[in-house]
């Protein structure tokens, strides 16, 4: 049962990721990327990372993709006026992507000899354990990420302003 769910979610994720790249309109790309993110959230649920799945849907589908859609609508890009690369360059891009995939798969050859996980703790994905790890082992990175957000916010506002007089 779980393996069929895995195959289904993987198929949806890969198909929609390809459609992100090959669809004509940017709005369609955003919508397919949202479907991909939901499929990945399904993988997180299967892997017993329930809180992470919820955060993933809220942050990616809820915040980041809405930002993308907002920018696309603000710039009025929903027209098929986008010039494409020449056919030779596009063919080269496909070949390069395929070669990268083959190289990575070849480099990770041998991973199939890893044993299946034995007894895994089912509750590490719950909010209590994640919070304990976050605030005990990763307290400094957590605080630094708040500074990162502050600087990103200031930078986005500065860049988005019309003209600096």
């Amino acid at each position: 049962m779980t393996i069929y769910l895995f195959y289904f979610l993987s198929f949806v994720a890969v198909l929609c990721a390809l459609l992100v790249v090959f669809s004509k309109s940017p709005v369609n790309s955003v919508l397919f990327l949202i479907v991909t993110f939901f499929a990945i959230a399904g993988h997180y649920v299967l892997l017993n990372a329930q809180f992470l799945a919820a955060v993933h849907v809220i942050v990616y589908a809820g915040a980041i993709m809405v930002l993308f859609l907002y920018v696309i609508m603000m710039l009025n890009l929903n027209r098929d006026v986008e010039p494409h690369k020449p056919v030779a360059l596009r063919f080269a891009a496909v070949v390069a992507g395929g070669l990268l995939a083959i190289t990575l798969i070849g480099a990770l050859h041998g991973a199939e000899t890893l044993p299946k996980a034995g007894n895994v703790q089912a509750d590490i994905g719950l909010i209590e354990n994640l919070g304990k790890t976050l605030f005990n082992d990763f307290l400094l990175p957590f605080e630094i990420s708040s500074i990162l957000f502050l600087s990103a916010m200031v930078g986005a506002v500065m860049l988005g302003k019309k003209e600096l007089k």
């Binding site: 779980t2 393996i3 895995f6 993987s10 994720a13 890969v14 990721a17 992100v20 790249v21 940017p26 790309s29 955003v30 990327l33 991909t36 993988h43 892997l47 017993n48 990372a49 992470l52 990616y60 915040a63 980041i64 930002l67 993308f68 920018v71 603000m74 710039l75 890009l77 986008e82 010039p83 690369k85 080269a92 891009a93 496909v94 992507g97 990268l100 995939a101 990575l104 798969i105 990770l108 299946k116 996980a117 034995g118 895994v120 703790q121 590490i124 994905g125 354990n129 994640l130 790890t133 976050l134 082992d137 990763f138 990175p141 990162l148 990103a152 930078g155 986005a156 860049l159 988005g160």
Partner: protein, 105 residues
Amino acid sequence: MSAIQVIPVHYYILLSVVLFSIGVLGVLFRRNAIIIFMCIELMLNAANLLLVAFSSYFSDAGGQVFVFFIMAVAAAEVAVGLAILTMIFRNTRSTDIDFLNKLKW
């Protein structure tokens, strides 16, 4: 019962590799800067999926906390990146990256 006990971990490695390669393919294939941003998000998500899979495999919550940090960095990157993109659009009236060749030797 976790999926990692049923599904071998190299299936997750293969899925992540395929998603990452599709992200790279999109960056090389398209000229629209917004699509390129979305493909970068796809690559970050491939890495996230692998981190969660191995965090589940080793029963270590550290991997999932790393995913939080990647999400935080991705959110900050998108905010700044889209602000830069609107600036570019305001100056060139286009999101085509091939217009931005001033720094090319």
